[in-house]
C-alpha cells in the first residue's frame, strides 16, 4: 500500500500527472500536493503524490551521516 519510493514527474495535465519509477510509468493525482513541477521527485501513496523530495536536504542528511562517523 505504501510504496514510499521517490518517483519522478514526467508529465502534468491539470491535477493529473505521470510518474516514472525505474522505467515503470504510472498515472497519479496531484490533488494533495501544492505546486508540483515537471521533474520533481515525489512520494506516491495509493495513487496520489503526498510530498515532494528536497534535494538540498537529502544532501544535508548525507553530510550529517559523514559528520557522525567523523
Amino acid at each position: 500500500m505504501c510504496l514510499g519510493i521517490p518517483c519522478r514527474i514526467i508529465e502534468i495535465k491539470g491535477l493529473k500527472a505521470k510518474v516514472d519509477l525505474a522505467g515503470v510509468k504510472k498515472d497519479i493525482s496531484l490533488r494533495l500536493l501544492d505546486g508540483a513541477r515537471l521533474g520533481d521527485y515525489v512520494i506516491v501513496h495509493a495513487g496520489f503524490a503526498i510530498e515532494r523530495l528536497d534535494e538540498e536536504k537529502a544532501a544535508r542528511t548525507i553530510s550529517m551521516i559523514e559528520e557522525v562517523i567523523g
Binding site: 519510493i5 521517490p6 494533495l32 495509493a46 510530498e51 528536497d54 542528511t61 548525507i62
Partner: protein, 364 residues
C-alpha cells in the same frame, strides 16, 4: 536510483552502527510505529547488529493488522448479506482471517470483492457500474486518509451517487499516547513514521516530548535513514534529552502537508476507534462529516457489528503492543505462515510477524 542508492551505502551504514555502539551505554527500548520500518529493520538485519542494551520493539504500525476483529467480521457479514454491492479494498485486506472466513473466501463464493491500488479506482468502478453500489473498505493511517478524502471530494464534484466509504482510518499520535498511558510496555523513545509525518508534520509529536518526556525521531525507510534515526534517538536517551528531531528532512517538515491536512479535515472528523490488541482509543479514528454523509457506508447501509473474536491462538494483540515478538507466539512459523496466516500480522508485508518470518534465521 536517485534518493535510494545514496541511502544504502554499506560503508556508511557500518560507520553509523559503530558510532551507535560507541555512544550507547543505557538500556533503551525503542519503538517504531510504522510497518515499513518494521520491514526494513528486519530486511537489513538491523535488530541483530545493535548492542544488546538497545531493544527495538514494533508498534501498531500496520494498518491491516490494527483493524479490529469486529470490523473484519463486520465486512464479511456485510458482503454475505448485500448481493448488489462491489466491495473495493487494498489487496492485503482480502486475506485477513475473520472468524471462520476471509474476504477472499467470500469472493470465491460469489461476492463481488475487488482489489484496488488507489481509492480513485473505486471511484472509476462506481462510474462504470451505475447499477451497483461500490463500497470502499478504507483502512490506513494519515497517509491514506487524504487520498480517500480527495476521492470523496471528486465523487461529490462528479455527482457520483453509488460510491460510499467504510472509514476505518486510524491516527498515529493518539495510539502512541495510549501505549504510554497504558504503561504495559516500556518505551524509552520512538522512531516515528516518515510518510505519516510527511502529512501531519513533526510538530504533531510535540506533546510526547513535552508531556511524556519521550524522545522522538522521524526517520525515513532506507537503511541509512533507520540507522541515523537510531543514532539520533540513542544520543537523546544517553544525554537525557526528549526532543522531536527529523532525520528524514528530504520529505518531512514541521508543519507537514497543509493541503492534505485541509482535505482530510474537509471530509473527516476525529472519532473514537477500536484497535486490535489495544481496544478503543479516544479520537484515534476518522469518520465522515455530516456534510458528506451520503458517502458514508455506515449511514447508507445497515452494517451490523461483527463478532469480536480473535483468531484462535493468535497473539497479534500482544505483538501490536510490543509486548512480545512474533517468535514468542507458539503458532509462529509452525501453524502460522504467510502462505497460511492465522492472524493479520502474518498477512501484510508490513505486519511484524510477516517481517520476522521473511527474514528469520533458519537454524539448520
Amino acid at each position: 536510483m536517485k534518493y535510494i542508492d545514496d541511502f544504502r551505502q554499506r560503508e556508511l551504514a557500518l560507520g553509523i552502527l559503530g558510532k551507535i555502539r560507541e555512544i550507547s551505554s543505557r538500556k533503551a527500548n525503542v519503538m517504531e510505529i510504522c510497518g515499513t520500518h518494521t520491514h526494513s529493520i528486519s530486511r537489513y538485519g538491523i535488530r541483530d547488529s545493535l548492542p544488546p542494551n538497545i531493544r527495538l520493539i514494533s508498534g501498531p504500525g500496520c494498518p491491516v493488522c490494527v483493524t479490529s476483529a469486529n470490523d473484519v467480521n463486520r465486512i464479511i457479514a456485510f458482503v454475505r448479506k448485500e448481493r448488489n454491492v462491489i466491495v473495493a479494498t487494498f489487496g492485503d485486506m482480502l486475506r485477513v482471517p475473520g472468524s471462520g472466513s476471509t474476504l477472499q473466501e467470500e469472493k470465491a463464493r460469489g461476492s463481488d470483492i475487488r482489489v484496488v491500488y488507489s481509492p480513485l479506482d473505486a471511484l472509476d468502478m462506481a462510474a462504470s457500474n451505475p447499477g451497483k453500489e461500490v463500497v470502499f473498505y478504507a483502512v490506513g493511517f494519515e497517509t491514506t486518509a487524504p487520498t480517500v478524502a480527495a476521492t470523496v471530494l471528486s465523487a461529490a464534484e462528479d455527482g457520483v451517487k453509488n460510491l460510499s466509504v467504510l472509514s476505518l482510518h486510524k491516527l498515529t499520535p493518539p495510539a502512541m499516547k495510549a501505549l504510554l498511558d497504558g504503561g504495559d510496555v516500556e518505551i524509552d523513545g520512538f522512531i516515528c513514521p516518515g510518510h505519516v509525518t510527511a502529512v501531519i508534520g513533526a510538530g504533531a509529536y510535540g506533546f510526547l516530548s513535552t508531556r511524556y518526556g519521550a524522545p522522538c525521531v522521524v526517520a525515513g525507510f532506507e537503511p541509512l535513514d533507520a540507522l541515523l534515526g537510531l543514532h539520533m534517538l540513542i544520543r537523546q536517551i544517553e544525554e537525557g534529552r526528549s526532543e522531536i528531531e527529523i532525520e528524514y528532512g528530504r520529505v518531512v517538515t514541521w508543519e507537514g502537508n497543509v493541503r492534505a491536512q485541509g482535505i482530510i479535515n474537509e471530509v473527516f472528523e476525529p472519532a473514537d476507534s477500536v484497535w486490535r490488541g489495544i481496544g478503543t482509543i479516544p479520537s484515534s479514528g476518522l469518520k465522515i462529516r455530516d456534510a458528506y454523509g451520503r458517502f458514508d457506508a455506515e449511514k447508507k447501509f445497515q452494517m451490523d457489528a461483527g463478532a469480536d473474536v480473535e483468531p484462535a491462538g493468535c497473539m497479534c494483540g500482544s505483538v501490536l503492543k510490543g509486548l512480545i515478538t512474533p517468535d514468542g507466539c507458539p503458532l509462529f512459523a509452525a501453524a502460522c505462515t504467510p502462505a497460511d496466516p492465522v492472524g493479520p500480522c502474518m498477512v501484510s508485508s508490513e505486519g511484524t510477524c510477516a517481517a520476522f518470518y521473511k527474514y528469520r534465521k533458519v537454524v539448520a
